[in-house]
Structures are given as C-alpha cells and as structure tokens.
C-alpha cells in the first residue's frame, strides 16, 4: 500500500488534501486545522449518507412489499430527502406544557453529540481516522452508552406515558443487549490483542492467496459476527427490536413529544447510530477498509469501508422489511437466555483457539463446539412455554 503509484495516491487523497490545506497555516495550528477538516468531513459525509439511506430504505422497503416507494419528488423520487428535510425544518416546534423544558431541550442535543463522537475513532480508510486511540473500541462503546441516558431524558422529560414507556423499554433493551455487544467485541480484542481500531483492521488486512484474513471467516468470528449483528440491531432500535418506538403500541416511544427539528435530530441520530454500529461491525469482523480480494487492493480503501457499511445498511433494511416486532418478554429472554450464554461459550472457544496453535484441528474443534452449542441452545430455547396466569406484581 506504499509507493507513489496511482492507486496509493487515490487511496490517500483526503489525507494529502488535509495536509495541503493545513500547510497554509502556521505550524502551531496545523494539527488543529487537520482535526477540524476531519470533523467537517464526518459531519458532512455521514448526514449525506443518511439522506441517501432514508431514500434507499423507503424504496427498498416498498419493493420488498411490492410497492413502488417514493417516486414523485424529482426523477424516481430522488429529491425525497430534500423534501423531507424542508418539511422537518419548517414544522412548528411544540413543547408540551408540562414538560421539563431544560431536559427536554438537552436530550436530542446530547444524543446527537454522543452519536457523532462515535465516528471519531472509526477508521474509514487507510490512515483515515480522526483519533488513533489506544482504547478506541472502549471510546466507541462509551459514547454508545451515554446515548442511553439521553434517550431516558427525552422520555422522562416529555411527561407523557407513552414517552416514558418507550424510554423504559429503550433503556432496558439497550442495557440488555450492550452486554453481548461488548462481549462479542471482546472476542475480536482477544484475537487481535489490541483495543485500537486501526490495529484491529491491520490485523485483518493480510491475504492467504486471494482470500482475506477477516475475522468473520473464523468459526468463533462468524458466531460473534452473528451475535454482534443481533445485538447491534437491538442497540439501534431497528426492527425486529423496535419495541421502544413500536408505533402500534406507544406511538413513537421516547420521542413522541418531539416535533419539527428536534424530531429530525432524533431521526438523524437513529440513522447515524446505525452507520456507526455498522462501521464498527465492519471494522471488527469484515476487515474495515481492507479489500475483499487481494487483487482488488487497487480500489481505494475508503471505498471498501463505505461499500461494506452500505451492505450492512441493506441488511438492516431487509430485516425491517421481513421480521415482525418481538414481544417484550421474548426480547429479554432472547438476550439473556440465548445471546448472552452463546457469546460466553464463544468467548471460551476463542480461548481454545488461541491455545491450540495453528492447524486444521482447531478449526474442526472450534466449529464443532459452536455448532453443537447453537443446536442445543436453539432446541431448548424453541420450546414454547405455556402462558402463566397473569400476575399483577407491580400494579399495586
């Protein structure tokens, strides 16, 4: 990836551009200028991606349900995001009379800030990360965790029972699925031996023949990838885990009482969270910016990163178009009785993998353990229990 040939130049074009802009400033300011440029890049690229994704989602969902999707605004409905944006900006901002004004106002700001911060550590291309931190992965999850509090703030400050219910559901769900989310990434950390995201990508950037060394192509990596995907879907409140905003039950959940631009901020934050979690999944399991085949490394690394993220987004949309919403008890049972134990087994398997050394044997042993666990836990988990008589433990 080094040298002065054309692919490498294109690959590093944004870095070169940043350096070029920065060299107009006195040397004391150069790092700050470079950082500001990076921040501008993040703030412009990902919301742009948001606009595209919303359109893709609406069109894709339509096609999955044998509909056209939006096709009125502009050619093939391409300007739909613009129309949506104008609509959101021109709507009246209604704050409920009894709402806790300060908290109600702060919640979307904190949420959006926390979500944007997560992008700072994502390596979107070779050498293209805003902060190369030793504990980058931890930073990412810390930011994800702080968004939970703002969700709660939004739901509580609205003084609306639906908002509060939505917030309680959201927080309970996010806490439950954060555990497997962290544990699955611990598997990657065990394999790499580092919490730094660029290091994790570099560890996967090699090739055997033409095949890449992505973690998803190892038995425990694959299992962890699936579990991570499930937990990520729950963490971003996407269908089938969209109980916190189940519109048939609690209107829009914790942002029921938000309107106009604040509503748009929640909407954007939700999609940005989806991008950042897709980005982290790409980084952890799919080799980040690394090309899928060794002969494809001529294509710039940032292209691969965004291509993989968009694949994730498509799967998110696909699942939303397919799966019905879970019930609250199913949600909790699934998290604590299937995902978490399976992830723990996976963690042990990763340890076994590390200590068995190279060879075909560890592939067989690890795969067998994981498949057996999956089958047994799937079998026992599928047993449908009869409903117990309804109890009103908390109703008094």
């Amino acid at each position: 990836m080094s040298g002065t040939n054309l692919p490498a130049t294109v690959d590093q074009i944004f870095i070169t551009f940043t350096h070029w802009v920065a060299h107009f400033f006195p040397s004391a300011f150069q790092p700050i200028v470079a950082d500001v440029l990076g921040v501008i890049g993040i703030i412009s690229v990902f919301p742009g991606l948001f606009a595209i994704t919303v359109l893709l989602e609406r069109k894709g969902l339509g096609r999955m349900q044998n509909r056209y999707g939006p096709n009125r605004v502009g050619p093939w409905g391409l300007f739909q995001p613009v129309a949506d944006g104008i609509k959101a900006l021109t709507k009246e901002d209604v704050v409920p009379f009894h709402a806790d004004n300060v908290v109600h106002f702060l919640a979307p700001l904190i949420l959006l800030t926390a979500v944007f911060m997560g992008f700072a550590v994502l390596p979107v291309g070779h050498h293209m990360e805003l902060m190369n931190m030793d504990a980058g992965l931890l930073f990412f999850f810390a930011m994800g965790a702080s968004s939970e509090l703002s969700v709660f703030m939004a739901g509580w400050s609205s003084r609306n029972k639906y908002s509060l219910l939505g917030a309680m559901r959201a927080v309970a769900q996010m806490i439950s699925y954060e555990v497997p989310l962290l544990l699955t990434s611990v598997i990657v950390v065990m394999l790499t031996g580092s919490l730094s995201l660029p290091r994790i990508v570099e560890a996967q950037a090699g090739y055997s023949g033409i095949l890449p060394h992505w973690y998803v192509f190892t038995p425990m990596g694959f299992a962890a990838f699936i579990m991570f995907g499930i937990a990520a879907t729950a963490e971003t409140n996407r269908s089938p885990f969209d109980l916190p905003e189940g519109e048939s039950e609690i209107i829009a959940g914790y942002f029921t009482e938000y309107s106009g631009f604040k509503f748009a901020m929640f909407f954007i934050a939700e999609y940005l969270a989806m991008f950042s979690i897709s980005g982290i999944a790409t980084t952890l399991f799919l080799g980040g910016w690394a090309a899928p085949f060794s002969f494809l490394t001529v294509v710039p690394s940032w292209f691969w990163f965004f291509a993989k993220v968009m694949c994730f987004i498509f799967v998110f949309i696909w699942m939303r178009g397919t799966l019905p919403r879970l019930r609250q008890d199913q949600l909790m049972n699934f998290a604590w009785k299937f995902v978490l134990p399976f992830t723990l087994v996976d963690l042990v398997v990763t340890g076994i993998w590390r200590f068995m050394g190279e060879g075909i044997l560890r592939w067989i042993v690890c795969s067998l353990i994981l498949i057996a666990t999956y089958l047994i836990m799937g079998r026992t988990g599928m047993v449908r229990k009869p409903f117990a008589p309804r109890s009103y433990r908390y109703a008094e």
């Binding site: 030793d134 810390a142 994800g144 965790a145 702080s146 939970e148 927080v171 919490l195 433990r393």
Partner: protein
Amino acid sequence: MSPVFYILSIVTIAGGLAAVLLKNLVHCALAVSVAFAGLALLFLSLDAQFVGFAQILVYVGAVAILVVFAILLTRGSDQPRESFFSRTWGIGLVVAAAVFAVLGWAVLQSSSALPRESAVPVASVHDIGVALVGRYVLPLEIVALLLTAATVGAVIVAMHEKDGTR
C-alpha cells in the same frame, strides 16, 4: 492543562452539588451523571484513556441508568411540591464533607500521592490488562466472585415472590 482542569473541576463540583441540593430525584440523578462525566474527562486530561472511557461506560452508561430506573420504579420521580431545593441539603452537605474528609485523609496518608516530579507514568491499555490478570489476578477474581454471588442473590430475591405465597 490548568484552565482545562479548572473548567472540568467546576463542572464536576457543580454536578455533585446539584445532585445533593436539587429536589427532583431524577434531576439529581442526571446531575450525578454530569459529575461522573466530569470525572471521566478529568481522567482523560491526565492521559488515562482506559480509566476515563471505562468511567463513562460504567458510570454514565450503566450506573446512572440504574439509579434512574430505581427512582422511577419506587415512585420517587413525583413532582416536588414545595421548594426547588431539597429540605435535607444541610444533612447532605455534612455527609459529603465527612466523606471528603475521609478521602482526603486517606490520600494524604498514602505514600504514592506525595508530589514527586518523576516521569508521568504512562499506563497503556496493555499494561493495565497485564496488571489485572497478572499481579492483581486474585483481587480481580474475588471481586468477580462477589459480584456473581450478588447477582445470584438478586435473582433469588426476585424469584421468591413468584412461586411464593401470592
């Protein structure tokens, strides 16, 4: 360094004070999380990345949420009827001062806290990991066991009602 330190200190102290003085319990909980975040930023300004992020992840992400949940489930979130400030703020201040005194005493007594102009220790994540499962593996395991026991105990407490009297 120093202006950053002062800003963060003010934020942290303000958060702590608000947590003690405010009337509405949920506001208190939110103020506590501000204090937690301020502490985390203080750690970060000392280049202790791992501790700082762990502080945010555990305290802001989990502890504050649990506190808030506990408040909501015990109906502590009702609107305050009288003054904006808590009536028990005096007692709160006394308790806080007592805790502060104990902590300050402990810090002053410890030998490692003496101001030494030695090289700033750089604790990378790797070093922390090695220390945790190397030198401090026994305390770590004991804490883990304790927490597991607590979890099991909590489950038993919660399960008791189900097949019990009612």
